[in-house]
Symmetry: none
DNA sequence: TATGAATGAGGGTTCATTCAT
DNA sequence: CATGAATGAACCCTCATTCAT
């Protein structure tokens, strides 16, 4: 039931999906949905909160990895893993972020995003201090760019013909080594 | 007027923005909007089509650069430049892509996106053939990842404290050289 | 100008025609129409009142014809003639009678229709008394049927005082045998 | 519910009647109407299509009557009967014919009218051939006049191919003498 | 005279939600 | 649990009319 709603939210967006569509998909009438959920918001809440909680749990765990590069790798991989289970949640966030960002009920979402940013930047800064990353690396900017790839990007799934692992490996390759042939050395 | 609507569309999404909000922002009544525009759709159309047209023009020009690396650099830089002028259009596309993608009136958008992809992938493939890019580079996958950074990503503007040039340079640095300290050499 | 409006009113109906359409047809903007007319109503007024006035003038004149058959013939012929000059007015009445019938500004229309009915019925009755028309002719019913052909055939239902069968029988009688007393035989 | 809407449509016209008025008459709010009907158009559709279907069914049946006079009588009587059940539909057609005639959703209406005309004219022609009706009877013109009484008296102007005088003379002929061959005399 | 931007009431329609059955 | 009729606010849009220019 929740999965049905999530799928629809992912496809059409949270706001653009009507409760009647959800009910139709479930084979019941719209009024009957309210025996299962308090409101449309509560459906969204359940989908989104379970997602960000899992992300936060993973990120906090990654923060205690051996070194920043390992931490970042763990973050990227766990993100990919979480996303494969919560595709719909990500799609919803992308689609209707401006709605969730301002709606009181979903105030925990911006808060979670801020913590996620903190963790990323922490690890990038640590990597610089440890000499693992370029000393001129701009942590905040880098995070923004990376987040855009790991998060907001519409659908990993749309990249047909690639396994999730292939995608992650490709991303890491570019991330760490770039796409250019190393000068000469 | 168009700019006002664009700004609102960017902030709240095309569908979530009501014509009354646009009219309010313009200091007129909702009905008066229709003196300036045929419909809400036509406002969206004007914003989006002028955007994709500029992008396509630039990309086609870039395709005739000296070499693929120059072409890609020109593509990235022109994208950044176009985006700085059409921030709202990008935000709209991200926000309500599922709507625009299916609405007949906006059928030119998916078409444009396909051409954009073709141009990117062409240059990446050419770069591989010319030995400029890693021979194991996966063009399609790389494009997807890059597009996610250059396109779908929420708002460049949100990256406060950075000039547009800084952001582009940062992106290119990562793109070409990665973030890792080169092995030893 | 008036003719333009009349033509449009006739084609699409008075209410369904917008002032902008009239202005477009006149090659000016909608606001400019108001330098020529006070309101849409006043345009309709001019078209309709000149029509009914001509009809009434003709009917009153016909009432003083030699005999009822001549009077009726004059009525029918003058109606046809007036209609050829005021086609639009008739179309308007047919189209939006329910509107004109209730609008205070057009109160003269129902009044005129009542006078028209009186004149018809008078002549039919006179014809019966003079032995020109079948003695069993129902003047009121006959008028209703004739008016429906010549005028604004309202609704069968409005023919109060007659059962449906009476109406049908009356119609069939006229249809097959006419209203005139058979020549001599 | 349908009957309520039909009554209002008949009184004020289809276009001039608002869904809010229908809802008011039903004692509900305008939005609630959409629980029962897809749209205002679908209400009109149901009213009109059931009407023309019944008419067509009856007319087709009448076409196989013993002789043309019986067929016409059956047509007239069935029309009267159908009309007593679908008064509103007729009023709607009269009122907003120009709308229905052009709206794609109601394209079946002009088509039905054409079949109705074919059936009438067929029987009138057969009656002439069989010597039941005056040999000089103009089938098409006669139908037009009759239809005006029984149906949607459109516009005189629409009777193409006849001069105004021809139309008037034809009308007077029917009016005074009917269409049947005088008994014997 | 003509313009054209603006009005403001009202049009048809959608939709999350409620509730008696 | 499910129904389905009803709500009521909000949606996009239309249109006769006004008025400063």
């Amino acid at each position: 039931m929740l999965a049905l709603a999530a799928e629809l939210f992912a496809q059409k967006g949270y706001r653009a999906t009507t409760v009647r569509e959800i009910a139709d998909a479930a084979g019941i009438l719209s009024g009957s949905l309210y025996h299962h959920f308090d409101s449309k918001e509560s459906i969204g809440d359940e989908i989104l909160s379970s997602f960000v909680n899992q992300v936060l749990t993973n990120y906090r765990a990654a923060a205690s990895a051996a070194d920043p590069r390992a931490a970042l790798e763990q973050i990227v991989r766990s993100t990919s893993h979480t996303l494969s289970q919560h595709r719909a949640a990500l799609a919803m966030l992308q689609h209707d972020w401006s709605y969730f960002a301002t709606h009181p009920r979903f105030a925990y979402l911006p808060k979670a995003l801020r913590e996620i940013e903190r963790i990323w930047i922490n690890q990038l800064e640590l990597g610089k201090q440890d000499g693992l990353f370029r000393p001129d690396l701009d942590a905040k900017l880098t995070y923004r760019l990376l987040r855009d790839v790991l998060w907001i990007p519409e659908q990993w799934r749309r990249t047909r013909g690639y396994s999730t692992d292939q995608v992650v490996d490709g991303f890491l390759r570019i991330l760490f080594d770039g796409i250019a042939v190393p000068a000469d050395c």
